[in-house]
């Protein structure tokens, strides 16, 4: 018999299973796993697309973004307590501004494509660079070139309640497309898939609802399916247009119909070891199994 200590079991679980939980929730602090998870209060969440869209897509980008939040709403229809909807397209400044107005009921969850790089449009030495405000001041992409999209989520620190979520896409450097196939090659981006709008937006809406990435893939109907929150998005990918069963279960667990939305501690204690969400799920699950087995062995002996 090979003896295994609990700490080695835990480390083995960490090294093999981190980020592989069926779903992983975002926390108030990424470095504090004991901090609250992020969640919307039960009720209505309204998204607004910027009326500027992404002109190279000829208007199809609006439909693609709409389909993305609608796929999350379909799950909410079955088991959730949120009603996702879309308000009117917003013009500037509201439709081009990321951020949050304290104490206002007029905050918008904006979705926009940034089509210019800040370094190309803001004067050198502009204080917006060191204040990180160039994106709003000059309507530009001020994040790293290699980033495809960003969700800025505003939340209540004390309990993790999400107050606002704005999504920016880096259309300054990435070719967003809305076609179904084939994968684009070379420099031709018409009637092919490069960075798919619906694929990307479905993933970002997942973040806006409080989901973080996971590497999880599992068996569905005899085939393999990976999470919509999987941390990869190669050119030509459209699989994330379809929400996987595990991300769907996040909606049912965290936004249960007829009940308040759930912080992570609430979900974790619902059914003991089996329901621990987030990145700690697998290490803790393995520890649970180890402790249960040890208990069983002791009882037998």
């Amino acid at each position: 018999m090979i003896a295994t200590s609990p700490i080695l079991v835990a480390i083995a679980a960490i090294t093999s299973g981190v980020g592989s939980a069926p779903y992983v929730r975002s926390h108030v602090s990424a470095t504090d796993p004991n901090s609250s998870c992020l969640w919307w209060a039960a009720g209505s969440v309204v998204y607004n697309q910027s009326d500027a869209g992404n002109p190279v897509n000829g208007g199809t980008e609006f439909t693609a973004v709409t389909r993305s939040w609608q796929s999350w709403q379909t799950i909410q229809n079955g088991c959730g307590n949120l009603t996702l909807s879309e308000g009117p397209h917003l013009s500037a400044p509201a439709g081009r501004t990321v951020g949050y107005t304290q104490g206002s009921s007029d905050n918008h969850n904006v979705v926009m494509f940034r089509r210019r790089l800040c370094r190309n449009v803001a004067p050198a030495g502009d204080p917006c660079f060191s204040n990180f405000t160039c994106n709003n001041v000059y309507d530009c992409w001020g994040n790293p070139d290699t980033t495809i999209g960003l969700t800025t989520t505003t939340y209540r620190v004390s309990n993790g309640e999400i107050l606002d979520a704005d999504i920016e896409f880096n259309a300054a450097l990435f070719h967003f497309t809305t076609a179904d196939s084939p994968t684009c090659s070379g420099t031709n981006y018409s009637n092919c898939v490069a960075t798919d709008v619906q694929n990307t937006a479905t993933h970002e809406f997942g973040h806006s609802l409080g989901l973080d990435h996971t590497m999880y893939c599992g068996s569905v109907d005899g085939g393999t399916m990976c999470s919509v929150m999987r941390d990869s998005s190669p050119n030509g990918e459209i699989s994330k247009r379809t929400i996987d069963p595990w991300s769907a279960s996040f909606i049912c667990d965290v936004y249960p119909r007829g009940l308040p939305s759930q912080d992570c501690a609430q979900v974790a204690t619902k059914s003991g070891c089996a329901a621990v969400p987030g990145s700690m799920a697998w290490p803790l699950a393995v520890l649970c199994i180890f402790l249960l087995r040890r208990q069983t062995v002791r009882r037998r002996s």
Partner: protein
Amino acid sequence: MRCPLANATTGLKAMLLSGCALWALAAHATVTQVRDVETLARDSDAVVRGTVQSVESSWVGQGTQKSIITRVKIQVSEKLKGDPGSVAEVVQPGGIIPESDIGQIVHGMPEFQRGEEVVVFLKRHAPSVATFRVSGMAQGKYTVERTSDGKNSFAVPSAIDAALVGADGLPTTNRAKPLELTELRKRIQAAVTK
């Protein structure tokens, strides 16, 4: 999250470091390109080891719609590339305003804690601007962890709240691993003197 190295035996240290690093990689959100130490060093304006002196978040922006930014001051104890002065100032989006009970998260940014010893790869916000951002988002921050006897120092990669893709745009598992501090220092110096 700090890695529990203090009382670990030597054999366990490496495992704990690996475990902590992978634990730290649990959460990802943004998609960004992977950068190895050498690329980070070459692309950065400055690389320093130092101690986080202060972490202050504030509201910024015109009109009523505001964003939160965080200013991190790092007391520089070793300059591995460039000269950011005795105190390097990092400014990045996101942070927490306790008095407002409001936080803002922009996935992919590293988190800093006061008193934390770090190695950071820094890029100026613009050529004439004195403040920096962390190169490669959270990939450009390592936390220095020391064994209880002080004999060994490790550089542990930061939690990266971002997905990594290679230069070809394809996902990669080529994530940074904990290094002995001397090894990290050697690699940075080799890269910048090439």
